[in-house]
Structure formats: C-alpha cells, structure tokens
C-alpha cells in the first residue's frame, strides 16, 4: 500500500464517524487554543522585554561600582565617617525599588585600571548631568533630564538615528513628547535641528551648550521621558557643570561602564567579573538588572502552559478512546485487509496516521482560533489600557512557535494512537473475520 493511499484512507476514516471525531477534535482544539494564547503572551511580552533591554543597554556591557568597604560598619550596619574615602550618590540603580544609594566613588585612577584589563575594550566614567532646560532657537524653554546612556544601547526611535559614542559631535536624542512641545509637527521635523541645553556650575553660573538633535525616541519601559546624549555631549555638559568643584569632586563618579567584545565567550566574561571582584569592584550586566522581571514573566507563562498541557493530556486520552472504538468497530475490515495481504506494519501506519490527522485537525483549528482571538484581544488592549506602552504587542505569534505547537500536538496524537494502532496491527485475521 502506497503512503499516499494510507494517508487518503486514514483521512477518509477520520470523517466516517463524524460526531465522535468532532468531539475528540474539540478537546484538542481547547488545548491547542490555550497553548497558542499562552505562547503568544510569552512571545509578545518577551519580545517587548528584549526591546527594552536593548534600550537599557547592550549585552556586552558591565556597570562597575566599587565594592563598599564594610570594615568600618557598626553592628547596626551604619558606617563610621572616614575623611579619606570619597562617596557619591549613585542614581544609576536599576529600574524598580531601591532608588539611589551612596556608594564609594570610582575615580580616574580606577578607570585607568579598568582599561588595563585584558578583555576590556573600553572603560568610561558614568556621570550624571543635570541640564536646567532645553530650547530650540528662541522658542519656549522646557525643563529637561538626560538619562544615563549605556554604550551600545538601542533606543526605540520614532525618527532619526541612534547615538554614536565614537563621534566628536555633540549628539542628542529627545523623547517624542518634547518633539511635540518644542514645536515639531512630525517627529522627523526635529531631526537635524540644533538644541540649546543649559547647565549651572558649582558657582551658580549658567552655561549654554549646543547639541545636534539626531533622533526622537518612543516612550517605553526602558526609556522614560528623558533625553539621551552621546559620550561627547555628556562630557561637554559634565565639564561645564563641574566648574568650581574641587578636583576630588570632579573626578569622583558613581559608576563606570566597561565594554567587552560582543562575541566574548561566557567563560571569559565570568573570568573578567571574577577579576573585577578580586580588584574590589562590583559588576552587573543589563540582563541581571532586569532579570527578576523576566523570570516572573517566564514563571507565569510556565504555569499557564502547564494548564494547557493538562488539557492536551486529557485530549490525548480522548484520542486513545476514539481510536480504540474505531478499531473495535472496524475489526472485520481489519481482518479482511489482512486476509487480502496488508501487513501489520501498514495497518499500524493506517491507524497512527488517523491519530496524527485528528491531532493536526484539532491543533490547526485551535491555533487559528488562538491567533484570531489573541490578535483581536491584543489589538483592543494596545489601543486601550496598555496604550501608554508603545511597541508592546501583548500577544504575538511567530510562525515557528505556531508550527511548533502543531507539531507537538501531532506528536502527542501519534503517541496516543500507538496503543489502538498496535491493537489493530496485531489482530489475527481469522479472529477478526469471525467477529460478530
């Protein structure tokens, strides 16, 4: 018997008992639908987190701080004052609770030391600049903040291009709301204009710095309503803002940003971080900074998926039951086919194919339903209560994951079909023909 004939025959017998097949298919549809939706949630949210990670920083970057010296701590955990050590406020804590903390400062000497390390490609001070206002031409002046921009990070842009940290040009990216407030009808209208930023130094003198607006960023979890500056602009602003400060204050930074090769192996990164620990530095990757967030999402998806898995196991038993009944009903037919020379292996193939086809029907219908309903729901939510999070598609589908679900369910159906199919294959033709 040819493979095409086996498939055709299996498909045909699937539709012979329509009610029974439909009920089994419905059970699979429910499982497939659930798993498609939960997978869609996982895909959508994780894609959003990935974009957000890109906005917070690249994955070949470490934020380095000095390990706090706890030797002068009292039993209560309060540190004694030490006039020798310099401390700065670190605003650069990861998003979430914790806010700012006082840390031991990184100095230019530390930066030099970090640059000497083998795997390190670059080490830059990370400084906080606090502009007073932003102004386009002689337009209205607005309060403005600049977020710490980690080298290699990608922002979600509404217009323009990403910052270039190797450039000597003073580059600025402004948030979408500012583009509108500053008088640009379209975000793209702001790109290419020159903005004036003001900073006040320690002696209360205001300095103006001119920067090229090269992009307009979307609002998202990673990039809040703050602008971003490249290294050249940050340094220019910091230099102006530090006038009048003592030498120590000017060269004390909350943290440094260390970049390593983007193709560095996991081991070499571990080695680097161990080395940093030995030298008295703490280091954090961007994914660690948002790691907890992601593991919560993964946990939720896992729980939802296990509910779907339970539905699929139940559907699997439905397939076993349906096919056992079918084998029983077709006992004589099986006996006849054996008497006419069909091998047990082909009979096994015939019933397995039927099981797989039932699985395919159920999973295809379930996936299509899931995609249609999931996309519709996601669209409504994005336009409504999730409207503030630009770039978030709550339930997203990739062809690979949908195909994966269908293949998985067909595999479950195959496994469920083996028991009835083996039963059919092992039938003795005479017993089958004598069967009433």
């Amino acid at each position: 018997m040819k493979t095409t004939d086996i498939v055709a025959s299996a498909v045909k017998s699937t539709f012979r008992s329509k009610l029974r097949t439909s009920l089994t298919v419905i059970a699979i549809v429910i499982g497939a639908f659930t798993i498609t939706i939960t997978n869609g949630l996982g895909t959508g949210i994780n894609a959003y987190i990935n974009d957000t990670v890109a906005a917070i920083g690249a994955d070949n970057v470490l934020t380095v701080t000095k390990t706090p010296d706890t030797s002068n701590e009292t039993d209560e955990g309060v540190r004694l004052y030490d006039p020798e050590s310099s401390r700065v406020v670190n605003n650069n804590t990861p998003p979430g609770p914790g806010a700012a903390e006082t840390v031991e400062a990184i100095t230019d000497a530390d930066i030099e030391l970090l640059r000497e390390l083998d795997t390190v490609e670059s080490a830059e001070r990370q400084v906080q600049v606090s502009p007073d206002f932003i102004q386009l031409g002689d337009g209205e002046r607005f309060e403005f903040t600049i977020s710490n921009f980690v080298p290699g990070a990608t922002l979600q842009l509404a217009a323009g291009e990403q910052l270039d940290n190797d450039s000597d040009d003073l580059q600025l990216i402004i948030p979408l709301d500012y583009a509108t407030a500053l008088g640009c009808d379209e975000p793209a209208d702001c790109v290419g204009l020159v903005a004036t930023l003001a900073v006040t130094d320690a002696t209360d003198v205001q300095h103006l710095v001119e920067a090229d607006v090269i992009g307009v960023s979307e609002e998202s979890l990673g990039a809040t309503n703050a602008g971003s500056a490249n290294t050249a602009l940050t340094n220019a602003l910091f230099d102006q803002q530090s006038i009048g400060l003592s030498e120590t204050a000017r060269t004390s930074y909350a943290s440094a940003v260390v970049t390593f090769a983007s193709d560095a192996s996991d081991e070499s990164v571990t080695t680097l971080r161990d080395e940093l620990t030995d030298l008295g530095y703490d280091s954090q990757t961007v994914s660690e900074q948002i790691g907890t967030f992601r593991s919560v999402i993964d946990g939720i998806i896992l729980v939802l998926n296990s509910f779907a898995a339970i539905a699929l196991v139940a559907a699997g038993f439905g397939i076993v039951n349906t096919l056992l009944m079918s084998v029983q009903e077709r006992t004589r037919e099986i006996g006849l086919m054996k008497a006419v020379g069909l091998s047990g292996r082909k009979i096994f193939a015939l019933f397995s194919t039927e099981a797989v086809f039932i699985g395919f029907l159920g999973s295809a219908i379930g996936s299509i339903l899931g995609i249609v309903i999931g996309s519709a729901t996601s669209g409504v939510l994005s336009a409504g209560i999730l409207g503030d999070l630009a770039g978030l598609t709550l339930i997203a589908f990739t062809p690979a994951s949908v195909a994966g679900v269908i293949v998985l369910i067909m595999a479950i159906a195959f496994v469920a079909g083996t028991l009835p199919a083996l039963r059919a294959a092992r039938k003795n033709p005479i017993v089958a023909l004598r069967y009433e």
């Binding site: 004939d5 020379g341 069909l342 005479i430």
Partner: protein
C-alpha cells in the same frame, strides 16, 4: 499428472486450553490440484471453515504440514505470506465482508490498493472486473446499498481483480436465495473452466458439492466417506 496447488498432511487444530480444549481438526490430509474444483462438505461445526482457513494460510495449524505451490508454508516470511494472500489467493465469504461506507469500486480495488498499484491502473482493472461480472453500473454505489446477490458478485470481483490462481469460497451461496445462488455458482464455475482458477468451496449444500470435480467429507474434524457422513 496435474500439479498440486495446495496440500495439507495430518493437519490438527485445537482451540483453547485445559478443560475448554477443543480439537476442531484431528489429522486431516487433503490435496487441491491446480485447475480443479474441490468441495469441502460437512455438517455445521465439523471443521470446514477451520480447514479452509489453514489451507488459505489465514490461520496456523496446531500440527501437520501445509504446502502451497510446492512451498512449505511454515518457513514463509510475513512479506511472502502477504504476497501469497494478495496475489495468489482470492476470498469469497458467506457474509460478503464488504467495507461499509466505501463504494463498490473502492471495495473491488482493495487488493490492488494494498499491492501498491497506481490509482489509474487499479481503477481500470477494477472496472474491467466489474464489467465481467455485469455490475459495472453499480461501481459508484455504496457497497451497503446493494442486494445480497449483487454484494456477492462484488465480493467475487474483489477476489478476482488481482488475477489469483486459487479462489477460496466459504458458503458463497449460504446467504442467497436458490436462483441468485445458482447465478453466483455459475460465475465461479465459469472462472474455473475458462481461466483455470482452482476453486476450494466450503459448503453443506449437496447440489453445489455435486457440481465440483471432487469432494472431501468432514465429520468432527476427520475426513470420512460419504456414507459415514450421513450415519
């Protein structure tokens, strides 16, 4: 001397275990020569069907020797066994055994489908066989919608379609009225005469048995003489 299609020697067949043990065949030796028609006659429960099933390699004997076309049956691999069932043998049963829901044409094509013959070729051969049996006009009907006589003709077409050398028929007229039964008998004997197909017919109908070249009488799992059968 003509060649032997199937011969069985000292055949025994027991069913069950212990106290439920039952010997359906108790040392039967029978030969079917190529091209002849052989009737297996006996009362109900005498072991006729059991004997036929063993001769047709559908069932394994408990003891004895089966030779098909000069080949020992016990050493056959399952692929060879399936090829014999598919190409050399044809079966006709009292209860027709047509696949319900499938069309007449599909039923007749079954042995060819199993043999892996291509769609167009098997359709052509099945239609040819249906025409030969004069029921080609029912080809697209559902098998279950036919009358008994028509069903049996479809069953014969199915047995015939792959050009067998032996046709086994178990009470082929048992479910038919005498007029229809006679038509079916005529078809079988015409095939025997014109195509030299060996017939092995199981029956308890004396007139059908009388039309065959040779008769074997069974009683309680043993071959007996016609006199012993009625005693």
């Amino acid at each position: 001397m003509s060649a032997t299609a199937i011969s069985v020697k000292n055949l025994t067949k027991t069913y069950g275990e212990g106290s439920g043990r039952f010997a359906a065949l108790r040392g039967v030796s029978v030969k079917a020569e190529l091209g002849e028609s052989l009737a297996i006659v006996g009362k109900s429960g005498s072991g006729k069907s059991t004997l036929m099933h063993v001769m047709a390699l559908l069932d394994e004997p408990s003891g004895g020797k089966v030779t098909v076309m000069g080949q020992r049956a016990t050493g056959l691999r399952s692929a060879e066994l399936n090829a014999l069932r598919n190409e050399t043998f044809g079966f006709v049963f009292q209860q027709f055994f047509l696949i319900p829901g499938a069309s007449v044409l599909e039923n007749v094509m079954l042995p060819l489908t199993i043999a892996g013959v291509s769609g167009r070729e098997r359709r052509r051969r099945a239609m040819e066989t249906l025409e030969q049996l004069e029921i080609a006009d029912k080809a697209s009907n559902r098998a279950t919608d036919l009358s008994g006589g028509q069903k049996q003709r479809v069953a014969i077409a199915r047995a015939l379609v792959n050009g067998p050398s032996v046709i086994f028929a178990d009470e082929p007229t048992g479910n038919l009225d005498s007029a229809t039964g006679e038509v079916v008998e005529d078809i079988l004997f015409t095939l025997n005469r014109e195509k030299a197909i060996t017939l092995v017919i199981v029956t308890h109908d004396q007139t059908l048995a009388a039309r065959c070249d040779r008769r074997v009488y069974l009683k309680d799992g043993l071959v007996v003489t016609p006199k012993e059968l009625t005693s």
